[in-house]
Symmetry: C2
DNA sequence: CCAACAGATAAGCACAAACTTATCTGATTC
DNA sequence: GAATCAGATAAGTTTGTGCTTATCTGTTGG
């Protein structure tokens, strides 16, 4: 059940921070670690969780592995959220802004 | 940090099942427990987690407490997701369907 | 070829979390 | 008022998870 993996992946602040770093572009594991106070194996573990959850994907370039956001995981969250559209009255401003963007 | 609570709340299959039951309407804790093989205190704990995450809200009616979906938590997920709109190319069919619904 | 580097994996530890049984608190009914 | 009911809370157990140090595997450069 991929949904469980996705929510679990995002339920950790360190992993969310990693994901947010990747939102601004592809990075290797060492670069991701800059400015974060975690060990190298911890980073490796977190990236493994994010990859399994399809929130990031990787591309090996020789000795380096570059990671980037994988849209698949985000699509799955959106799909899950879409099940509850009855609860989306005019109150959800964030999504309305998104709607506007996508219409352009 | 409410985001962490929300993702954690949804990272458990039992809690997601409870949430999905509530999506079809308000229910008390006992009714929620029907067809689920968990103890009464477990149900109470899960509802407490969902409430703290603002995914459900409650209303006491005498001896009964009715629970229902709280749109606030959903809105927060949508808000988080909206941060990654650059990753929403034409591939996200679930959201496009949602867009169509909300335009009506 | 070998040393250095990047990152994955193994193993261990401390704490968190999902479950339980037991108990408590508040509401309802007779 | 007492018994029953609904649900919260307490405490304990088991399992899972985020961290670490140690080690391994594969790539690069001299």
């Amino acid at each position: 059940m991929i949904e469980n993996e996705i929510f679990k992946a995002l339920a950790d602040p360190t992993r969310r921070a990693i994901f947010e770093k990747l939102a601004s572009g592809s990075m290797n594991a060492s670069a991701l670690r800059d400015g974060m106070d975690i060990s190298q194996p911890a980073m490796s573990q977190h990236l493994s969780v994010l990859r399994s959850a399809r929130l990031v994907r990787e591309e090996r370039r020789g000795r380096f592995v570059n990671y980037e956001v994988d849209p698949d995981g985000l699509a799955l969250i959106a799909g899950w959220l879409a099940k509850y559209r009855a609860y989306w009255p005019a109150r959800i401003d964030a999504l309305k802004a998104l709607l506007k963007d996508m219409d352009q």
